[in-house]
Every structure is written in C-alpha cells, then in structure tokens.
Amino acid sequence: MQFKILPIKENRKLNSRYFVLKVPDKSISAQSQPGQFCEIKDLESDEPLLPRPFSIYKVEENTISFLIKIVGETTRNLSQKKTAEMISILGPLGNGFKIPKNKSVLLISGGIGYAPFPFLKNKLQKNGNEIQWLHGGKDKYDIFSYDITNYTEDGSIGKKGLVTDDMPFILGKNDIHTVFACGPNQMLKKVSEICEFYKVELQVSMETIMACGMGVCCGCIIKYAENGEVIYKKACKDGPVFDGRKVVWDE
C-alpha cells in the first residue's frame, strides 16, 4: 500500500456518464491484484473531505487507470481534471479476487461494475481459465465493449433485458466453477440467488461508503452470514470481494 500524489496523464471521456483516468505509476500497479481498489482524492478542492474508492481498471506498463462513473461531487470534479493536474492515490487496497486455475468462469457486470473486470480477465486468462462475460446496463451508454455479451434494459444495444436473464440457463448447461460479479446490489442479490441454486462459487465485489480504506475506522461494514450468525466484515480490508452467497442482502 502506498500514498502518492500523481499528475493526471490522460482523462478520456467515454460518454456523458463515464470517463477513464490514467496516471503514471509503476509501484502501486506492481503490488495490485484484480479486485483491489485505490482511494482517490481531487487535490484541488477541499470537498468532499473523504477520498473515494475506485477499482483498478487497467494496469499497463507505467500507468494505472480507473473507469469512473459520474454520480456526485468527486466523480464530477475528477471528470473535469486536465492533464498534469494532481490527485492523491492510496492503494492498492482490499483483498482482490481469488483467481482459479484452468477452470470455466463466468463474469457478470452491471453498469460501472464493469470496472474491475478487464484487469481480472487478464489474470484469469493467464491462469488458463475459460471465460464467459455478460455485461448489462440501462442503455447503450452503459456498454463498454462489443467483445462480450451485452444486455440493455432498453434494447438499444445487445440483448434486451437484464444481465441475469440468461444466467440460469448458462449455469444449468455449463460446468462453471466460479461466478465473478460486480454491479448494483439488486443485481448482486439476484446473482447470488442463482448461484446458490446452482451451487456455484460466487465472488462479488461490494460497494459501501468508506473513510480510511485500510481497515482502521470500521466505517465500511458489510453484513455477512457465517455459522448461522450475522457478522460484520470490513469492505475495505476483508473485501471488497466477498463470497456472494454469504453476504446478507438487506432489502
């Protein structure tokens, strides 16, 4: 884990909703695993006070990048950052995905849940896994790649429907060892029900509001069922990747 103040190397707008922030880095990347994240703070504005967690999207030679959705103040500010403006980065944080070897795996992403998967896919491939990837969104603006199976609610691209629609079929037909999922809680809950039914391992990446990002403040709790008891896990340290079948999905 490192804390660095780095200049923006590239800020690429994908559409009105998403952008990719790239910063020069070797050392954080070198330590990073898919599913880990960094806490990023815009150094030009005092507010918000807290840095914000973003999954590591891509690790390339000499750079690390983040795929970001504009939802509030920090993400709006970051979307307007220009090359050479400074941000702070704390990371890598969290546990990251466990990578199986030579298995069939299924990736399910919804919206910005796409972010940690390119890095994950890379590692999965290196470990000889066979990968299917379903991605879903509201509309075409939520679609990032044509090389995967896309679903949109409005049918503007890919199949019309939810990313979970075909999951039972796929899990029923194929010998999937692990499902990896990232996206809105509702989607994750649905995915976990399906995986529970088909008794397939599930690794989900969870989102919560965080402060320290390193397991100190106990602010980022996820409810988790273990041995018939609900316990609290720290999303930033015990997670953000959890066994999706044990996460307690409140309404």
Binding site: M1, Q2, F3, K41, D46, E47, P48, L49, L50, P51, S88, L90, T208, I209, M210, A211, C212, G213, M214, G215, V216, C217, C218, G219, C220, I221, I222, K223, I231, Y232
Partner: protein, 301 residues
C-alpha cells in the same frame, strides 16, 4: 531545527502531534514510521467485544463527517493478545483508549491493561455519543466523572487522559471534576451530536440515527471548548476537532492545548500528522519562537 519536545503528564513526547482515537491504527505503518508521532492513541477498547452498529455508519456532509461506529472492537482480552504487541516496535508513547458503560467496567479494563509496560497512558472515553443510554454519554455529569476518575486513579500509575464531550452546557465543570479527581491530562473534543436526513427514504443517512459529527465544520466549536477548559484547569490539554493543517494546529496550541490530535483529516491525507509536525517545526523556526511561548498565548480580548 526547532525542538518540538513536550512534557505532558508523566510522558515526554518528541512532538505535540498525535492521532484521535478511532481514526488511526498500526495499519498506517505501511505508509510511514509511526515512531515519528508524539504518541499513538488506539481505537477505544471495551471490556467485552463489541460488534458495533448496523451499517451505514458514515455520511459526509458539508465540511464534516457523521459517524456511528458503535465502538466496534475485539474487547480488552483480544486487544491484549492480538493488538498490543503490534505497538511494541514503535518508539513513541502508547495511549490506550478505554470505555465502559459502568465505572466498574472501566476499572476492570484498567486492571487487565495495567501490567503492560508499553502502555503509557489511558484515554478515558466518557464521551462517545453512540452507546450510552438516551444517546447521551455518561460523561455529561461532573459527579459521575469525579467518581470514575478517582476510582481509576487508585488502580494505576499510568497517565490518565480524560476525553471530554462538547455536548454539555458547562464543560468547565466536567473538566474540573476530572482534574480534581486525579486526571493528568484532558483531551477534547469528541464528536458533536449530529443528524443528516436522506429525504428520499425519510430516514437517517446513518442507520443508527443520531451520530457523531467531526471534521473542519466542528473546528470553531472545538476551539471554543478547548479555550474554556484551558481557563478552567491547570493540567495539560490535547486539543482536537477538525484540525486539517498546521495553522489549525497552531490555533489549538494558542488557545491552550499542549498537543494536538488529528482524526478525520487522516482519511483525507494519511500523512497529515507528518505534514503538521514539519509545519510546526517550520513555523517555530521562522518565527524564532518555541512551543512554550505558543501554548496558551491567545488572549480572548
């Protein structure tokens, strides 16, 4: 280079900079050598393990942070077996923050911790707003504080730091009760009671309801309380509440704090404590002054 060393209670600190309980731990070790701080303060420990409050536990507001962690901690036994040893390697003072819901609980915790020589002081957290009955901390009544500190004093020679809540009418009375019953140091402020509403769900943005408010927004409130307490008692004070930079730290020292602690600011910048140590050094050098001249130099009118 300026000398930042201070004597505070029975302790010598290499500088007047420490951290606020609950916002810092040995996890920061990966980022810098914690021995550089004047002291380390642990998260509050209770007698028995505490699961803490239901999430969501955090909500950011304008210039402030609401939290309701609910004193999640492994309890004193596990603290001793698992955590205490991790602090051994740091060449600085170790303050263990403790809390209980009865006087007896406080004393039991102290009894268990007393044998450990690497603990230099206890910070007595009588101010956490989240766990006491009625949402009020039991540190709001001077007589209770007096009895608690007197009993604790009898159990230990370690320094006793009493951490005060700002959520009272007359903080001077509580401070005096602490000082008169044997406290060595007073620290303040703990969080201010606060609430934020999610207008969509018509519920508190913090699941537990009323929460503790920290960060820059509470700085004027903290300064006001530190000043009043500094006027009321003669024992040293550790000031905190919204400190984000060297200037903020100087404000606290001027109104009478002998040392300062950063809480919420650690989240914005995990190296903030080091920045402030450097900043104080530079300030003293540039102004050709020393800490003794700065501490309490504020004149109200």
């Amino acid at each position: 280079m300026s000398n930042l060393e201070i004597q505070i209670g029975g302790m010598k600190w290499k500088n007047p900079v420490t951290v606020a309980s609950g916002t810092f731990g040995y996890e920061y070790d990966e980022l810098f050598d914690l021995s550089q701080l004047g002291a380390l303060v642990t998260k509050t420990i209770t007698l028995n393990p505490k699961k803490g409050n239901e999430p969501c536990r955090l909500a950011e507001t304008r210039a402030g942070l609401l939290n309701s962690i609910g004193l999640q901690n492994p309890g004193v036994e596990e603290f001793i077996t698992e955590k205490l040893i991790k602090y051994d390697k740091y060449k600085t003072n170790l303050v263990v923050s403790i809390s209980g819901s009865t006087i007896d609980e406080f004393c039991q915790i102290a009894d268990k911790l007393n044998p450990y020589d690497n603990i230099d002081a206890y910070e007595i957290n009588i101010s956490c707003p989240n766990v006491e009955k009625e949402g009020l901390a039991f540190g709001v009544e001077a007589e209770v504080v007096r009895e608690l500190i007197a009993k604790l004093r009898a159990t230990t020679d370690k320094d006793i730091i009493v951490k005060l809540t700002p959520n009272v009418t007359k903080i001077e009375e509580i401070a005096r009760a602490a000082a008169e019953s044997g406290a060595d140091i007073i620290s303040l402020i703990n969080t201010v009671l606060g609430l934020a509403v999610d207008i969509e769900t018509k519920a508190s943005r913090i699941k537990n309801g009323i929460a503790g408010y920290s960060g820059p927004a509470i700085k004027p409130i903290a300064l006001q309380n530190v000043f009043r307490v500094a006027q009321a008692v003669d024992i040293p004070i550790i000031g905190m509440g919204g400190i984000c930079n060297t200037e903020d730290a100087l404000e606290f020292l001027m109104v009478g704090a002998s040392a300062v602690a950063m809480g919420t600011a650690n989240f914005s910048n995990p190296l903030i404590t080091l920045d402030i140590i450097k900043g104080l050094e530079m300030y003293l050098g540039k102004n050709n002054t020393n800490l003794r001249e700065i501490i309490g130099s504020f004149k109200l009118q």
